[in-house]
Amino acid sequence: MDSTRWSRVQEIFLQAIELSEAERDAFVRSACGDDAELAGEVRAMLAADRRQTSLLDRGLLSLAYEMVGTFNDSISSREFGPYRLIKVLGEGGMGVVWLAERSDAGNRVAIKFLPHAALPKQYGTSEFPACAFYAGASNV
């Protein structure tokens, strides 16, 4: 999109957001005339503005945490329930996988700790890191 076109798109967008939801569509239609592409651009922006779910609506810190933050520091003790954490098996964008051993039974599992940033909001305040168990880790 060139800057002239962009000026036009945002001019209509900025006028539309001053209106109530109910009035917007008719306004966009009349402002864009038969330029369907223009109307499409404006409508996509209005939808995004309503959704507020892009990266830009997320806190930078949670993004920083997800990209470069330290997952391991969340595990303050090397104990997790009945499991003793032995070593990190793998680390990636979606969390850290630890090799762990059940202290009483002695069987080994892989436990994956998820970064909070990857979790739905309602789990984000949990005291404990979310985790998933993988029982098939005895051969690791």
Binding site: L61, T70, K112
Partner: protein, 195 residues
Amino acid sequence: MQDDPHPRHSTGRSDGIPPSLQRRQLDEVFSQVYEELRRLAGAVRRNDPGANVSSTTLVHEAWLKLKDSPHLADTSVPHFKAIAARAMRQVLVDAARRRVAQKRGGKDDAIQITLDESIGLASSSDAELIELDRAIDKLALMNSRQAQVVECRFFGGLNVVEAATLLSVSESVIERDWRAAKAWLASALRPAAGS
């Protein structure tokens, strides 16, 4: 549109950064700020993101750490923040690129697959961040000030007043720029949705 080979490592786009600083000095400042922010971002702890701490904190901590450095003797706080915003963007995009490269190459053993695909969570934000970075570059061609507003506010944590001062426009201009730019970027990241 095309892959960009880290142009922001150089200081080619010097908007918002005082011309009094010589280019080489600016490069040194940038890399110093980059390293510091990368270190700080790397130390973000699990509970911080939920604590509603803003990016201002990272930039502020970087300032406290670096303000007495000789390279930064001529740099005011707003200009430092402008530099830091760009450095922060670069730190995160570089990290995202590394992570994507890591996923594609070499280490695709069982563990790696587990990390990426287990228990039905959406994939991480790497790709979206890289897309966002490119979309901001496209926005810069359409309206360079709006790209700066996004960079300052999102990556640098500048508030409306600070951004207005830095870019020498009114606060209402910053607010309009931000809202329109954010909506366009978000729609550009999800082209199929919402229309």
